[in-house]
Amino acid sequence: MSVPVIQTENANLELMSGKSMLHILNDVTFTVNGGEVTAIVGPSGSGKTSLLMILGGLERPTSGKVVVAGQDISTANEDQLAIFRRNNLGILFQNFHLIPSMTALENVALALEIAETRLSLKEIRQRATEALEEVGLGDRLTHLPSALSGGEQQRVGLARAMVTSPTLMLADEPTGNLDQDTGARVIELMFNLARKKGTAVLLITHDPNLARKADRVLTMNKGRLTETAKAAVPA
């Protein structure tokens, strides 16, 4: 039996908006196993991204338990969470969040510099180059993000997320800013890389076609998460 990578129990998130309290996540309880690709679908504002933020240690749940890669992150402090991320996670954002002043190679190498402190610069560069070659950007190593297309920027983001061979990849609508073909290619790459490295993927998407490619589909609605049969995902 596979070890769970994500285990949450009654995770709740409440945020202040002006003077009123918003209940973003409601008793979210679910499990994702190692190497499993899980898609979360749901309408805008339903709490998908907030759940991903909590799982990435970027947001703290108001209550409940969140265990990721065997570590309870609901009580960890900021620095413990940073170390947790570098050791276990890869994150892919809709808006890429590349550092604009760094080349594609430097952006990918940065993740290794932070996570793999024992590696020499040469090894870091070697592995970053390989990661970019794997996503088809071997000829774009020295380009700044501003010189890359959206699809290329997202592939740099993917290389950066995967270069450390994480246990879990969190992807927040990674194709949201890309056209259908480019998006499909990025997803293809992501799934292939994840399967090759045995990385579990939690994918947030609006795209039903994309969701159907996952092993499992969960639906988020008004902060509540429910399991959905793949066949039931609307076309």
């Binding site: 940073a82 570098r86 996670l89 550092i99 604009p100 002043s101 760094m102 510099e113 610069l121 993000p145």
Partner: protein, 858 residues
């Protein structure tokens, strides 16, 4: 027009919702303008007061002075024919307590006749307002009256009404002196002031000056019956033309030196104020740049909705213009308040009445400087806003700011307004200081420093870019942070460098002026000097001083008084009118005798700069050694001759060598001759004595008891008094310097604001990738330490060069030295400040949960 008004209205509405961010802009302008307004107002008030009250400050409409004797009957008849006359005599002497306490004090004697003062009043609690002092000074029951500085009572251990002696003449203290109307123009004097009658002074047989330079001055102040100094001065000067000993001075001549001194002081402060505004300008530029940068998406949105570049320019120009106006007005209020507060204090220090007033022309000047600086430093960011392209809305390249392309800087529309503003500032500075050379060289210096720092930043980036990547991650990332595209490093280097350079200029100048005038002198100066001591007295004095156990230094050397009457065959009298001759050289060739010595060995603490010292057993024609700078000022070289006159005889001596030395560091004379030169004349000795710290008064009493006939001049005390006055004046320099430093810190904060958004964004991405707060802050700290050290190193070079140039060009007659401890302290402080400011601006972003930032970054 209504469209423009509408645009402006929208701009103001937009601004009101975002006012907090402009604190730095407002503060930088307010401080710069406030400094200029304060400094120029105080300067103007000082000049006005000196010139408006010149006749009070001098004590007459005209005065005739000489140093060797009183006017004879014919001269006096002529002088009194011009109007009402008051005779004064300035001299020095020692006063002793009548009792056997041994208490003694060195007096600055100001002897006056019954008409004194012709203008103004002697201030004393014992005098009714407007009452002349003569009534208190007259001879009563065989005792003369005196009005004295209250400290004299403490020194002599007596009270008002008590008695003291000056040689054989007895005085009664009948009044305490608060101030003399002409006190400010009497300048530096040795000893504590005692006002007495001419008769009393003349009754004192000790008419000889106790030290060369302490000349007795015989003055006749004239309240003209007809005309004024403009018509009468040439007539009186022509009358006395046959006797060059007489000097005829108008109040403006007398006030001239004082006025020129304060003028220089004020010009120096004004330049500091202007520097403060220029450095503040960098802060303004950074703040506006940061603002435009953060608004670039809004600008692009406006442009994509059809707003013209002009519309965008008007929008932001209105906002910045309005803010600048507020900043300048705050500055003017600060300047006016500073002036009103400073004038009475300064007046009391300088013994001039300076009522608290507001000088509107100075405020107008400061307004002009502020408006021009605000325009010049915000214009480029505003042009940038005008030229922003809406296309950036469609790119996702992070938060970096679009900037002008290199060729866009040279477009006429960009260059001309900036050039006009720079020229107007130059003209205003010239008009204010009335010193073209100073403003010209200052501008060259500022532009040179600006270019140096700007290009040094770019060069550093280039160097770091081409260097192979370092193996250490933190160092590598810090280097990358400096040379990466869009890095604020060049701006940080320029802002910090300029601010720091200016701070160093101020610190170095202040330290040099202070150490020249006070520091070294008071440290090394002897406590007492005595002249004309016979050989047996010197031996006895040596034994006596050794027995007291409170003397740390006693030196003596032979001395003789002689005048330098010819230089290279030319009579000294013909050389004295040459304005190019330095003050010390003028003194050497003056009409009076100066102290000279003879010596076989090279005096300690002096260095030969030309020629050779004579052999110890030299027995040839008379040779002399001269002080290097004095000889150079007179054009004297080794091998030239000078003529010395003493006891009515003249001897010609050849210059054997020139030496550099400081009087404070030992017994040194302007003229030192070979042994045997003065054998035919009766020489005496000069002694210098330094008392142990805190034992000065004990030694003074002991010497007075033992050597009743010898005057020991308390030079250390006089120098301490001078140091105190200069110390008080330097408070003004420190306040202005402090304001400049504050502006520098604001600039630094503004610079950090320029790249804050990008830095925060990068920091959050690093954190998402797993970097701890410590990791990120370490890299930022390293980056800012490198920037700080680099800027500090450049600023040190620029600051030292700037201070050196100002000392040379502004003609400040001080030496040049740099205190490495002080400089290192300032530099270390600035580097730490840079690191702390840089790290602090990032810490907030790092301490917040990343989700919040990621949401706001979109």
């Amino acid at each position: 027009m209504s469209r423009l008004a509408n645009w402006m209205r929208v701009a103001i509405t937009d601004l009101l919702g975002d006012l907090r961010r402009f604190g730095i802009l407002l503060a930088a302008l307010a401080l710069g303008v406030g400094t200029i307004a304060g400094v120029s107002s105080v300067g103007a008030a000082l000049q006005d007061t000196i010139l408006r009250n010149a006749n009070i400050l001098m004590g007459g409409d005209l005065q005739v002075v000489r140093a060797d004797r009183r006017a004879d009957a014919a001269e006096l008849a002529y002088i009194t024919s011009l109007g009402e006359v008051s005779e004064t005599i300035s001299s020095n002497s020692r006063a002793d307590a009548i009792d056997d306490s041994g208490n003694t004090v060195f007096l600055d004697i100001y002897a006056v006749d019954g008409n004194y003062p012709l203008y103004g009043n002697v201030e004393s609690p014992q005098l009714k307002p407007g009452e002349k002092p003569a009534s208190l000074l007259a001879l009563k029951d065989g005792v003369y009256g005196a009005i004295v500085d209250p400290v004299i009572l403490d020194r002599l251990g007596i009270d008002l009404g008590g008695h003291f002696r000056v040689n054989a003449t007895e005085f009664e203290v009948r009044g305490l002196l608060t101030s003399l109307p002409n006190g400010a123009l009497r300048g530096f004097h040795l000893g504590l002031t005692a006002l007495m009658s001419i008769e009393a002074q003349q009754a004192n047989p000790n008419a000889r000056a106790p030290l060369p330079g302490l000349l007795t001055q015989y003055g006749y102040k004239i309240k003209l019956a007809e005309g004024d100094y403009r018509t009468q001065q040439p007539i009186v000067a022509a009358h006395f033309a046959g006797d060059p000993q007489w000097k005829v001075e108008s109040p403006y001549d007398a006030a001239g030196d004082l006025s020129r001194f304060y003028d220089l002081f004020v010009r120096f402060l004004l330049i500091v104020g202007l520097s403060s505004l220029l450095v503040g300008g960098i802060g303004i530029s950074n703040a506006v740049n940061a603002y435009i940068g953060e608004r670039q998406r809004a600008i692009a949105t406006l442009r994509s909705l059809g707003a013209t570049g002009g519309r965008v320019m008007v929008h932001f120009f209105t906002q910045i213009g309005l803010l600048a106006l507020v900043g300048i007005l705050i500055g003017l209020v600060i300047g006016a308040v500073l002036t009103a507060a400073a004038l009475p204090v300064l007046g009391s220090i300088l013994a001039v009445e300076l009522p608290p007033t507001v000088h509107f022309p100075s405020l107008a000047t400061a307004f002009g400087f502020g408006a021009l600086a605000a325009f010049a430093f915000s214009y480029l960011p505003l042009v940038n806003a005008r030229k922003m392209k809406p296309a950036m809305l469609f790119r996702t390249v992070g938060t970096s700011v679009q900037s002008l392309r290199a060729r866009e800087y040279f477009e006429l529309g960009v260059v001309l307004p900036l050039l006009a503003a720079a020229l107007l500032m130059f003209a205003l500075a010239w008009w204010t200081t009335r010193d073209f050379a100073l403003v010209f060289w200052y501008s060259v210096g500022v532009i040179g420093a600006f270019l140096l720092l700007r290009f040094a930043g770019v060069a550093l980036q280039h160097l770091l870019r081409v260097l192979p990547p370092l193996p250490n991650t933190a160092w590598r990332n810090a280097f990358r942070g400096i040379h990466r595209p869009g890095s604020p490093a060049p701006v940080v280097i320029m802002s910090l460098g300029l601010g720091l350079a200016m701070l160093l200029v101020i610190i170095i100048l202040t330290a040099n002026v202070r150490s020249q005038l006070t520091g070294q002198v008071t440290q090394d100066a002897p406590t007492f000097v005595a002249t004309d001591m016979f050989d047996d007295e010197i031996v006895d004095l040596g034994d006596f001083l050794a027995s007291t156990g409170i003397v740390t230094n006693f030196q003596h050397s032979p001395m003789i008084r002689a005048a330098v009457t010819k230089v290279k065959g030319v009579p000294s009298a013909q050389l004295r009118d040459n304005k190019g001759i330095s003050g010390e050289a003028q003194y050497m060739i003056g009409s009076q005798e100066i102290l000279m010595t003879w010596q076989a060995d090279l005096p300690a603490n002096s260095t030969i700069t030309a020629g050779q010292w004579w052999p110890a057993d030299y027995d040839g024609p008379p040779l002399v050694s001269l002080k290097d700078d004095v000889a150079k000022s007179l054009g004297i070289k080794v091998g030239d001759t000078i003529e010395l006159t003493l006891f009515g005889e003249s001897i010609e001596v050849t210059v054997a060598n020139l030496r550099e030395f400081q009087f404070q560091t030992g017994l040194n004379y302007l003229v030192t001759a070979t042994p045997g030169t003065f054998d035919d004349f009766p020489g005496t000795n000069l002694a210098i004595i330094k008392a142990a710290d805190g034992k000065e008064k004990d030694l003074e009493r002991a010497l007075a008891r033992r050597y009743a006939d010898i005057t020991f001049i308390p030079v250390g005390e006089a120098l301490n008094q001078a140091a105190e006055i200069l110390g008080q004046l330097s408070v003004a320099v420190n306040i202005v310097g402090g304001l400049a430093v504050l502006n520098g810190i604001l600039v630094l904060a503004g610079t950090m604001a320029a790249g804050r958004k990008q830095r925060e964004s990068d920091a959050v991405v690093n954190k998402v990738l797993g970097a701890t707060r410590g990791d990120v802050v370490r890299v930022f700290s390293l980056e800012y330490a490198l920037l700080g050290i680099f800027a500090a190193a450049l600023a040190t070079a620029v600051g030292i060069a700037g201070a050196y140039m100002i000392i040379r060009l502004a003609g400040l007659d001080v030496g040049f030295g740099v205190d490495p401890v002080l400089i290192l302290g300032v530099l270390a402080g600035s580097v730490v400040l840079t690191i702390v400011t840089g790290a602090a601006t990032t810490w907030k972003a790092l301490s917040t949960r990343p989700a919040q930032y990621l949401r706001s970054l979109g």
